[in-house]
Subunit: 196 residues, 2 copies
Protein backbone atom coordinates (compact mmCIF):
# COMPACT_ATOMS: atom_id res chain seq x y z
CA UNK A 1 0.00 0.00 0.00
CA UNK A 2 2.87 2.36 0.65
CA UNK A 3 3.62 2.15 -3.08
CA UNK A 4 0.06 3.16 -3.87
CA UNK A 5 0.03 6.02 -1.37
CA UNK A 6 3.34 7.30 -2.62
CA UNK A 7 2.15 7.43 -6.20
CA UNK A 8 -1.13 8.94 -5.14
CA UNK A 9 0.40 11.88 -3.25
CA UNK A 10 2.86 12.52 -6.03
CA UNK A 11 0.09 12.58 -8.63
CA UNK A 12 -2.13 14.79 -6.49
CA UNK A 13 0.67 17.35 -6.43
CA UNK A 14 1.02 17.13 -10.21
CA UNK A 15 -2.73 17.55 -10.66
CA UNK A 16 -2.75 20.56 -8.34
CA UNK A 17 0.19 22.07 -10.22
CA UNK A 18 -1.60 21.59 -13.55
CA UNK A 19 -4.66 23.46 -12.31
CA UNK A 20 -2.65 26.26 -10.80
CA UNK A 21 -0.11 26.71 -13.60
CA UNK A 22 -2.93 26.74 -16.16
CA UNK A 23 -4.99 29.39 -14.42
CA UNK A 24 -2.31 31.64 -12.95
CA UNK A 25 0.81 30.76 -14.91
CA UNK A 26 4.03 29.23 -13.58
CA UNK A 27 5.37 32.44 -12.04
CA UNK A 28 1.95 33.37 -10.71
CA UNK A 29 1.75 30.11 -8.80
CA UNK A 30 3.45 29.58 -5.43
CA UNK A 31 4.64 26.27 -4.05
CA UNK A 32 2.20 26.89 -1.19
CA UNK A 33 -0.69 27.14 -3.71
CA UNK A 34 0.20 23.73 -5.13
CA UNK A 35 0.75 22.01 -1.79
CA UNK A 36 -2.43 23.32 -0.20
CA UNK A 37 -4.51 22.45 -3.30
CA UNK A 38 -3.17 18.89 -2.90
CA UNK A 39 -4.17 18.99 0.78
CA UNK A 40 -0.62 19.01 2.10
CA UNK A 41 1.87 21.25 3.85
CA UNK A 42 4.29 23.38 1.79
CA UNK A 43 7.22 21.08 2.51
CA UNK A 44 5.40 18.00 1.17
CA UNK A 45 6.04 19.17 -2.38
CA UNK A 46 9.76 18.56 -1.85
CA UNK A 47 9.21 15.01 -0.59
CA UNK A 48 7.91 14.06 -4.05
CA UNK A 49 9.45 16.56 -6.45
CA UNK A 50 12.84 18.21 -6.72
CA UNK A 51 11.61 21.75 -7.38
CA UNK A 52 8.73 23.81 -8.76
CA UNK A 53 10.45 23.93 -12.14
CA UNK A 54 10.82 20.14 -12.07
CA UNK A 55 7.04 19.86 -11.72
CA UNK A 56 6.58 22.11 -14.75
CA UNK A 57 9.09 20.05 -16.71
CA UNK A 58 7.30 16.82 -15.80
CA UNK A 59 3.93 18.23 -16.90
CA UNK A 60 5.39 19.70 -20.08
CA UNK A 61 7.30 16.57 -21.09
CA UNK A 62 4.38 14.23 -20.40
CA UNK A 63 2.03 16.46 -22.39
CA UNK A 64 4.38 16.80 -25.35
CA UNK A 65 5.08 13.06 -25.48
CA UNK A 66 1.37 12.35 -25.41
CA UNK A 67 0.71 14.83 -28.23
CA UNK A 68 3.51 13.40 -30.35
CA UNK A 69 2.19 9.85 -29.87
CA UNK A 70 -1.31 11.04 -30.76
CA UNK A 71 -0.11 12.61 -34.01
CA UNK A 72 1.94 9.54 -34.90
CA UNK A 73 -1.08 7.31 -34.33
CA UNK A 74 -3.17 9.56 -36.56
CA UNK A 75 -0.58 9.33 -39.32
CA UNK A 76 -0.42 5.54 -39.01
CA UNK A 77 -4.20 5.12 -39.00
CA UNK A 78 -4.66 5.71 -42.73
CA UNK A 79 -2.65 5.11 -45.89
CA UNK A 80 -3.87 8.01 -47.99
CA UNK A 81 -3.52 11.80 -47.43
CA UNK A 82 -7.14 12.79 -46.78
CA UNK A 83 -7.77 10.06 -44.21
CA UNK A 84 -4.43 10.78 -42.57
CA UNK A 85 -5.05 14.53 -42.32
CA UNK A 86 -8.54 14.03 -40.91
CA UNK A 87 -7.27 11.53 -38.34
CA UNK A 88 -4.45 13.79 -37.21
CA UNK A 89 -6.59 16.94 -37.01
CA UNK A 90 -9.43 15.14 -35.24
CA UNK A 91 -7.11 13.58 -32.63
CA UNK A 92 -5.17 16.80 -32.11
CA UNK A 93 -8.23 19.01 -31.74
CA UNK A 94 -10.18 16.64 -29.49
CA UNK A 95 -7.15 16.33 -27.24
CA UNK A 96 -6.49 20.07 -27.04
CA UNK A 97 -10.15 20.80 -26.30
CA UNK A 98 -10.67 18.01 -23.80
CA UNK A 99 -7.34 18.61 -22.05
CA UNK A 100 -7.18 22.35 -22.54
CA UNK A 101 -5.93 22.85 -18.97
CA UNK A 102 -2.73 20.86 -19.35
CA UNK A 103 -2.43 21.84 -23.02
CA UNK A 104 -2.28 25.46 -21.95
CA UNK A 105 0.79 24.74 -19.83
CA UNK A 106 2.34 22.67 -22.61
CA UNK A 107 1.99 25.47 -25.13
CA UNK A 108 2.20 28.69 -23.14
CA UNK A 109 4.65 28.08 -20.28
CA UNK A 110 7.71 27.12 -22.31
CA UNK A 111 9.57 30.29 -21.30
CA UNK A 112 9.53 29.23 -17.64
CA UNK A 113 11.48 26.03 -18.32
CA UNK A 114 15.21 25.89 -17.57
CA UNK A 115 17.44 26.13 -20.67
CA UNK A 116 18.25 22.41 -20.56
CA UNK A 117 14.62 21.36 -20.15
CA UNK A 118 13.51 23.79 -22.85
CA UNK A 119 15.97 22.25 -25.29
CA UNK A 120 14.51 18.79 -24.64
CA UNK A 121 10.95 20.03 -25.11
CA UNK A 122 11.88 21.93 -28.26
CA UNK A 123 12.99 18.61 -29.76
CA UNK A 124 9.58 17.09 -29.12
CA UNK A 125 7.90 20.14 -30.64
CA UNK A 126 10.04 19.88 -33.77
CA UNK A 127 9.04 16.21 -34.10
CA UNK A 128 5.35 17.09 -33.84
CA UNK A 129 5.74 19.86 -36.42
CA UNK A 130 7.61 17.51 -38.76
CA UNK A 131 4.79 14.94 -38.66
CA UNK A 132 2.26 17.57 -39.66
CA UNK A 133 4.50 18.87 -42.42
CA UNK A 134 4.99 15.37 -43.83
CA UNK A 135 1.24 14.78 -43.96
CA UNK A 136 0.67 17.96 -45.98
CA UNK A 137 3.73 17.61 -48.22
CA UNK A 138 2.96 13.96 -49.00
CA UNK A 139 -0.60 14.95 -49.85
CA UNK A 140 0.62 17.56 -52.32
CA UNK A 141 3.20 15.15 -53.81
CA UNK A 142 0.49 12.54 -54.35
CA UNK A 143 -1.82 15.09 -55.97
CA UNK A 144 -4.45 14.90 -53.24
CA UNK A 145 -3.80 18.45 -51.91
CA UNK A 146 -3.22 21.64 -53.87
CA UNK A 147 -2.00 24.25 -51.37
CA UNK A 148 0.55 26.65 -52.81
CA UNK A 149 2.75 26.65 -49.70
CA UNK A 150 2.66 23.28 -47.92
CA UNK A 151 5.08 24.27 -45.15
CA UNK A 152 3.12 27.33 -44.13
CA UNK A 153 -0.18 25.50 -44.45
CA UNK A 154 1.13 22.75 -42.16
CA UNK A 155 2.24 25.39 -39.66
CA UNK A 156 -1.20 27.02 -39.84
CA UNK A 157 -2.91 23.68 -39.18
CA UNK A 158 -0.71 23.11 -36.13
CA UNK A 159 -1.29 26.69 -34.99
CA UNK A 160 -5.05 26.31 -35.31
CA UNK A 161 -4.98 23.14 -33.23
CA UNK A 162 -2.74 24.56 -30.51
CA UNK A 163 -4.85 27.68 -30.14
CA UNK A 164 -7.89 25.56 -29.30
CA UNK A 165 -6.30 25.13 -25.86
CA UNK A 166 -6.41 28.90 -25.40
CA UNK A 167 -10.03 29.60 -26.26
CA UNK A 168 -11.87 26.35 -25.52
CA UNK A 169 -14.21 26.45 -22.49
CA UNK A 170 -16.01 23.46 -20.96
CA UNK A 171 -19.12 25.64 -20.51
CA UNK A 172 -19.08 26.72 -24.15
CA UNK A 173 -21.70 25.83 -26.75
CA UNK A 174 -19.52 23.21 -28.49
CA UNK A 175 -18.04 20.00 -27.15
CA UNK A 176 -14.60 18.74 -28.26
CA UNK A 177 -16.08 16.48 -30.96
CA UNK A 178 -18.10 19.35 -32.49
CA UNK A 179 -14.98 21.47 -32.78
CA UNK A 180 -12.91 18.60 -34.17
CA UNK A 181 -15.53 17.79 -36.81
CA UNK A 182 -15.66 21.35 -38.12
CA UNK A 183 -11.88 21.74 -37.90
CA UNK A 184 -11.51 18.67 -40.15
CA UNK A 185 -13.67 20.42 -42.74
CA UNK A 186 -11.58 23.58 -42.39
CA UNK A 187 -8.35 21.59 -42.65
CA UNK A 188 -9.43 19.93 -45.90
CA UNK A 189 -10.31 23.33 -47.33
CA UNK A 190 -6.99 24.80 -46.18
CA UNK A 191 -4.87 22.16 -47.92
CA UNK A 192 -7.07 22.41 -51.01
CA UNK A 193 -8.12 18.77 -50.92
CA UNK A 194 -9.44 17.59 -54.29
CA UNK A 195 -13.14 17.14 -53.57
CA UNK A 196 -15.42 14.13 -53.77
Amino acid sequence: MSQVTRTDARDRLVAAAVESFASKGFHGTTTRDIASAAGMSPAALYVHHRSKEDLLHLISRTGHELTLRLVQEGVASADEPVGRLVAVVRGFVVHHARNHTSARIVNYELAALSPAHLEEIAGLRRAIEQELRDVVEDGVRLGAFTTSNPRMTALALLSLGIDVARWFRDEGEWDPEDVAAHYCELALNMVGAISR
Copy 2:
Protein backbone atom coordinates in the same frame (compact mmCIF):
# COMPACT_ATOMS: atom_id res chain seq x y z
CA MET B 1 11.15 70.73 -22.38
CA SER B 2 9.83 69.31 -19.15
CA GLN B 3 6.76 68.16 -21.08
CA VAL B 4 8.89 66.32 -23.62
CA THR B 5 11.10 64.68 -20.99
CA ARG B 6 8.09 63.58 -19.01
CA THR B 7 6.50 61.82 -21.96
CA ASP B 8 9.80 60.31 -22.99
CA ALA B 9 10.54 58.68 -19.63
CA ARG B 10 7.01 57.40 -19.35
CA ASP B 11 7.17 55.83 -22.79
CA ARG B 12 10.58 54.31 -22.16
CA LEU B 13 9.11 52.53 -19.15
CA VAL B 14 6.21 51.25 -21.25
CA ALA B 15 8.60 50.02 -23.95
CA ALA B 16 10.75 48.26 -21.36
CA ALA B 17 7.67 46.66 -19.81
CA VAL B 18 6.51 45.41 -23.23
CA GLU B 19 9.85 43.70 -23.87
CA SER B 20 9.99 42.17 -20.43
CA PHE B 21 6.35 41.08 -20.14
CA ALA B 22 6.55 39.49 -23.61
CA SER B 23 9.67 37.46 -22.91
CA LYS B 24 9.23 36.54 -19.24
CA GLY B 25 5.53 37.08 -18.61
CA PHE B 26 3.92 39.56 -16.23
CA HIS B 27 4.62 37.57 -13.05
CA GLY B 28 8.12 36.67 -14.25
CA THR B 29 8.98 40.34 -14.62
CA THR B 30 10.02 42.48 -11.63
CA THR B 31 9.55 46.22 -11.34
CA ARG B 32 13.34 46.38 -11.06
CA ASP B 33 13.67 44.65 -14.47
CA ILE B 34 11.47 47.26 -16.08
CA ALA B 35 13.07 50.26 -14.41
CA SER B 36 16.64 49.18 -15.11
CA ALA B 37 15.81 48.35 -18.76
CA ALA B 38 14.51 51.91 -19.03
CA GLY B 39 17.75 53.17 -17.45
CA MET B 40 16.16 54.29 -14.21
CA SER B 41 16.01 53.42 -10.53
CA PRO B 42 13.27 51.09 -9.25
CA ALA B 43 11.32 53.97 -7.73
CA ALA B 44 11.10 55.85 -11.04
CA LEU B 45 8.43 53.46 -12.24
CA TYR B 46 6.07 54.87 -9.63
CA VAL B 47 6.68 58.46 -10.70
CA HIS B 48 5.06 57.70 -14.06
CA HIS B 49 2.76 54.74 -13.41
CA ARG B 50 0.53 53.77 -10.52
CA SER B 51 1.58 50.11 -10.33
CA LYS B 52 3.03 47.21 -12.31
CA GLU B 53 -0.49 46.01 -13.09
CA ASP B 54 -1.39 49.50 -14.33
CA LEU B 55 1.44 49.23 -16.85
CA LEU B 56 0.05 45.90 -18.07
CA HIS B 57 -3.41 47.38 -18.33
CA LEU B 58 -2.11 50.33 -20.35
CA ILE B 59 -0.28 48.02 -22.77
CA SER B 60 -3.23 45.67 -23.05
CA ARG B 61 -5.83 48.40 -23.60
CA THR B 62 -3.74 50.24 -26.18
CA GLY B 63 -3.07 47.01 -28.08
CA HIS B 64 -6.70 45.92 -28.06
CA GLU B 65 -7.96 49.32 -29.19
CA LEU B 66 -5.45 49.31 -32.02
CA THR B 67 -6.49 45.83 -33.13
CA LEU B 68 -10.20 46.73 -33.03
CA ARG B 69 -9.57 49.85 -35.12
CA LEU B 70 -7.54 47.80 -37.59
CA VAL B 71 -10.33 45.28 -38.03
CA GLN B 72 -12.95 48.00 -38.39
CA GLU B 73 -10.84 49.69 -41.08
CA GLY B 74 -10.52 46.37 -42.91
CA VAL B 75 -14.29 45.91 -42.85
CA ALA B 76 -14.86 49.45 -44.12
CA SER B 77 -12.31 49.15 -46.91
CA ALA B 78 -14.47 46.98 -49.18
CA ASP B 79 -18.16 46.57 -49.91
CA GLU B 80 -18.24 42.89 -50.80
CA PRO B 81 -17.41 39.81 -48.68
CA VAL B 82 -14.26 38.55 -50.38
CA GLY B 83 -12.53 41.95 -50.43
CA ARG B 84 -13.58 42.58 -46.86
CA LEU B 85 -12.31 39.21 -45.58
CA VAL B 86 -8.99 39.62 -47.37
CA ALA B 87 -8.54 43.16 -46.01
CA VAL B 88 -9.31 42.10 -42.45
CA VAL B 89 -7.11 38.99 -42.52
CA ARG B 90 -4.22 40.81 -44.18
CA GLY B 91 -4.31 43.69 -41.69
CA PHE B 92 -4.73 41.40 -38.70
CA VAL B 93 -1.93 39.03 -39.68
CA VAL B 94 0.56 41.71 -40.69
CA HIS B 95 -0.05 43.47 -37.37
CA HIS B 96 0.29 40.33 -35.26
CA ALA B 97 3.50 39.32 -37.05
CA ARG B 98 5.09 42.76 -37.07
CA ASN B 99 4.08 43.54 -33.49
CA HIS B 100 4.32 40.04 -32.11
CA THR B 101 6.01 41.28 -28.94
CA SER B 102 3.15 43.48 -27.77
CA ALA B 103 0.57 41.15 -29.33
CA ARG B 104 1.87 38.36 -27.09
CA ILE B 105 1.06 40.43 -24.02
CA VAL B 106 -2.32 41.43 -25.44
CA ASN B 107 -3.32 37.82 -26.03
CA TYR B 108 -1.53 35.79 -23.38
CA GLU B 109 -1.35 37.95 -20.23
CA LEU B 110 -5.07 38.52 -19.73
CA ALA B 111 -5.10 36.43 -16.54
CA ALA B 112 -2.73 38.87 -14.84
CA LEU B 113 -5.15 41.81 -15.20
CA SER B 114 -7.25 42.90 -12.23
CA PRO B 115 -10.91 41.79 -12.42
CA ALA B 116 -12.06 45.32 -13.33
CA HIS B 117 -9.43 45.78 -16.01
CA LEU B 118 -10.09 42.30 -17.40
CA GLU B 119 -13.77 43.13 -17.76
CA GLU B 120 -12.94 46.22 -19.81
CA ILE B 121 -10.54 44.30 -22.04
CA ALA B 122 -13.04 41.46 -22.48
CA GLY B 123 -15.45 44.00 -23.97
CA LEU B 124 -12.89 45.02 -26.57
CA ARG B 125 -12.22 41.37 -27.39
CA ARG B 126 -15.94 40.70 -27.85
CA ALA B 127 -16.14 43.65 -30.26
CA ILE B 128 -13.22 42.32 -32.31
CA GLU B 129 -14.78 38.86 -32.41
CA GLN B 130 -18.13 40.31 -33.48
CA GLU B 131 -16.56 42.15 -36.43
CA LEU B 132 -15.02 38.92 -37.69
CA ARG B 133 -18.25 37.03 -37.22
CA ASP B 134 -20.21 39.65 -39.16
CA VAL B 135 -17.80 39.44 -42.09
CA VAL B 136 -18.22 35.68 -42.37
CA GLU B 137 -21.98 35.60 -41.71
CA ASP B 138 -22.64 38.40 -44.20
CA GLY B 139 -20.58 36.53 -46.78
CA VAL B 140 -22.66 33.40 -46.29
CA ARG B 141 -25.93 35.38 -46.40
CA LEU B 142 -24.87 37.00 -49.66
CA GLY B 143 -23.92 33.65 -51.17
CA ALA B 144 -20.22 34.47 -51.44
CA PHE B 145 -19.12 31.99 -48.76
CA THR B 146 -20.32 28.43 -48.19
CA THR B 147 -18.95 27.35 -44.79
CA SER B 148 -21.31 25.06 -42.87
CA ASN B 149 -20.68 26.75 -39.51
CA PRO B 150 -20.00 30.48 -39.93
CA ARG B 151 -19.59 31.19 -36.21
CA MET B 152 -16.95 28.53 -35.70
CA THR B 153 -15.19 29.41 -38.93
CA ALA B 154 -15.03 33.05 -37.81
CA LEU B 155 -13.59 31.94 -34.48
CA ALA B 156 -11.01 29.78 -36.29
CA LEU B 157 -9.96 32.73 -38.46
CA LEU B 158 -9.49 34.89 -35.38
CA SER B 159 -7.66 32.08 -33.62
CA LEU B 160 -5.32 31.60 -36.57
CA GLY B 161 -4.48 35.32 -36.60
CA ILE B 162 -3.92 35.57 -32.86
CA ASP B 163 -1.63 32.55 -32.80
CA VAL B 164 0.69 34.25 -35.30
CA ALA B 165 1.90 36.33 -32.34
CA ARG B 166 2.96 33.14 -30.57
CA TRP B 167 5.02 31.50 -33.31
CA PHE B 168 6.25 34.40 -35.49
CA ARG B 169 9.99 35.13 -35.27
CA ASP B 170 11.78 38.09 -36.85
CA GLU B 171 14.63 35.77 -37.81
CA GLY B 172 12.26 33.31 -39.50
CA GLU B 173 12.14 32.56 -43.22
CA TRP B 174 8.95 34.57 -43.84
CA ASP B 175 8.27 38.26 -43.34
CA PRO B 176 4.87 39.56 -42.16
CA GLU B 177 3.63 40.19 -45.69
CA ASP B 178 4.50 36.64 -46.82
CA VAL B 179 2.50 35.19 -43.96
CA ALA B 180 -0.42 37.55 -44.54
CA ALA B 181 -0.58 36.70 -48.24
CA HIS B 182 -0.75 32.97 -47.63
CA TYR B 183 -3.17 33.39 -44.73
CA CYS B 184 -5.54 35.26 -47.06
CA GLU B 185 -5.51 32.25 -49.37
CA LEU B 186 -6.16 29.94 -46.41
CA ALA B 187 -8.96 32.20 -45.14
CA LEU B 188 -10.76 32.14 -48.50
CA ASN B 189 -10.52 28.35 -48.54
CA MET B 190 -11.78 28.13 -44.95
CA VAL B 191 -14.94 30.13 -45.61
CA GLY B 192 -15.49 28.23 -48.87
CA ALA B 193 -15.36 31.34 -51.05
CA ILE B 194 -17.03 30.76 -54.43
CA SER B 195 -14.04 30.80 -56.76
CA ARG B 196 -13.17 32.95 -59.75
